[in-house]
């Protein structure tokens, strides 16, 4: 994650991923905000792995493995102030003050203990499912830039996918990002196009995209069809953004296109 994306030497992958995760949390909060109240339509866990495996939240949320979205809203690590350039409606631009929250900072060190991380995910899920047996099934958005350094994650992946609520099975989506100039593979229906065993391993522990997620993909112009897995291999920056947009688009919710409406932060 300390490497840059191919063709973008100025920016580490970890910086970009942290930005996308912060925007995703911001988006979830805004979707749940009704005037001045944030409704707990989501519970969120952000788990990172490298030198350590554990929650990426810090500050008041640091000891929490799963956090209701209203508390996420109220306890960002910091709220930065800046200016945003927006259309003035008459062909010009105006700068307006904005505040944007930050929950996680980029970290890139250590190996890729994917099995330990998935084990942690499974433990968090099992506790949450005990407490919410009728909830919307949890969605896991797993992002990695390399092969597992602590063994084959297949069994743990299958165990996670076998969990569920009365409303359906847990959804596990995987996005592999690469620094190499390799062709990206997005939301495949079969293993035929996959280049190696690692890609096939991740494919096998990726859930099929349910209809609502397919609709979200279609709205974003992403090619996914009935039978497509929630799986990206050799993804680039736009793949990551779309992966999070699709993965957080639940019933009837329009995917949030923050890259489109963000304009410039001065």
């Amino acid at each position: 994650m300390a490497d840059p994306f191919s063709g973008d030497s100025a920016r580490k992958k970890s910086d970009f991923v942290a930005e996308v995760v912060n925007h995703t949390l911001h988006d979830l909060v805004i979707r749940c905000t009704k005037t001045e109240e944030v409704r707990n339509y989501y519970h969120v866990s952000v788990i990172g792995y490298g030198r350590n495996v554990g929650s990426c939240f810090s500050g008041p949320l640091s000891a929490r493995s799963m956090v209701p979205i209203a508390e996420v809203a109220d306890f960002p690590l910091q709220v930065k102030s800046s200016y945003k350039r927006v259309s003035d409606g008459a062909g010009g631009w105006v700068e307006i003050p904005v505040r944007y929250p930050v929950w996680i900072h980029p970290t890139a060190d250590g190996k890729t203990p994917m099995c330990e991380a998935l084990g942690k995910v499974k433990m968090v899920l099992e506790q949450w499912l005990l407490e919410h047996p009728r909830g919307f099934p949890p969605t896991i958005l797993h992002l990695t830039d390399g092969e597992s350094s602590d063994g084959d994650p297949s069994e743990l992946g299958q165990q996670i996918m076998s969990l569920g609520t009365d409303d359906g099975a847990v959804l596990l989506f995987n996005c592999h990002i690469s620094s190499r100039r390799s062709a990206k593979i997005e939301y495949p229906t079969g293993e035929g196009s996959l280049p190696d065993g690692f890609a096939r391993t991740l494919f096998d522990i990726s859930s099929k995209l349910p209809g609502n997620f397919l609709a979200a993909a279609a709205q974003l112009g992403v090619s996914a069809i009935d039978g497509s897995r929630g799986f990206v291999f050799n993804g680039d920056p736009s793949s990551i953004v779309q992966f999070y947009e699709i993965g957080t688009s639940l019933t009837g919710m329009t995917p949030y296109r923050w890259m489109d409406d963000r304009t410039e932060l001065a």
Binding site: T33, K34, T35, V38, A73, D74, I96, G252
Partner: protein, 255 residues
């Protein structure tokens, strides 16, 4: 009942229903009904749940419509909506808001709106209506749907309708979806104003021939009506949303 738009010839029968989502309090309802029988103006506005101060915005739109005599033109609608939007957004100045409420407020508020005005002065009465979003007006005659606006089919309802924005900089685009219409009235015709969940359900029933407009809201028993709509929502036949319905029937007076 003797304003300029009423007459001794026609009698108005009015029934209305307003229910919050199942499991929510009446104070949380973001649908608003406004009625002025003197002006013969009626409106429903449905504040968008995700928007900032949505109930107040819906209230402003509906009340403005019934209390004023604005003409039914796009230009006039834009003008008074922009003025109401400015006042609403100015009322937020000075509030100390969290980062997320501040962002919501910056986006403004949104609501669906349908307003209708009846003219009962002539021997051939008529209605004129204006609508934006998915709150609807249905005109029925002897059990048959004559007209429905702005949406006319149950499958046309979706989660992202174009709504009335409090921020007038959005009006150039959104007002392109404004629908203005009118029609003549006959004795015993029924007009139904409905917010989206009720309108979608009603149109679906009409499409399947399973809706009796003559008996619809035929009882004044509030508990009975509430139970009917609660049961429909529990059964999933009506989406669990706020419900606002106004039923207007005109009848020739028998002298």
């Amino acid at each position: 009942m003797s304003s300029a738009k009423q007459s001794a010839t026609w009698n108005l029968q009015l029934r209305q229903l307003l229910l919050p989502k199942l499991g929510q309090e009446a104070s949380e309802c973001e649908d608003v009904i406004a009625v002025d029988t003197q002006n013969c103006r009626f409106a429903i506005a449905d504040g968008a749940t995700e928007a900032f101060d949505a109930r107040n915005w819906a209230e402003r739109l509906a009340q403005h419509w019934v209390q004023n005599e604005s003409t039914l033109t796009l230009e006039d609608f834009r003008e008074w909506v922009a003025a109401e939007g400015r006042e609403l957004q100015e009322s937020w100045n000075g509030l100390t808001l969290s980062w997320y409420a501040e962002e919501k407020a910056r986006a403004g508020s949104f609501a669906a709106f349908v307003g209708v005005e009846l003219d009962l002065r002539a021997d051939s009465p008529s209605w004129q209506a204006i609508a934006l979003g998915d709150a609807c007006l249905l005109h029925c005659r002897r059990g048959t749907l004559l007209k429905s606006l702005p949406l006319s089919r149950s499958e046309s309802f979706n989660s992202a309708p174009v709504l009335v924005a409090s921020d007038s900089s959005l009006h150039d685009v959104s007002m392109q979806s404004l629908v203005i219409d009118s029609a003549g009235f006959q004795s015993e015709d029924v007009l139904l104003l409905m917010s989206d969940a009720a309108a979608s359900w009603c149109l679906q029933c009409l499409e399947h021939g399973s809706f009796d407009v003559d008996t619809f809201l035929g009882t004044n028993e509030t508990d009975e009506l509430n139970k009917f709509f609660d049961d429909e929502r529990l059964a999933g036949r009506i989406r669990n949303d706020d419900l606002a319905i106004v039923r207007i029937e005109i009848q020739r007076r028998i002298n």
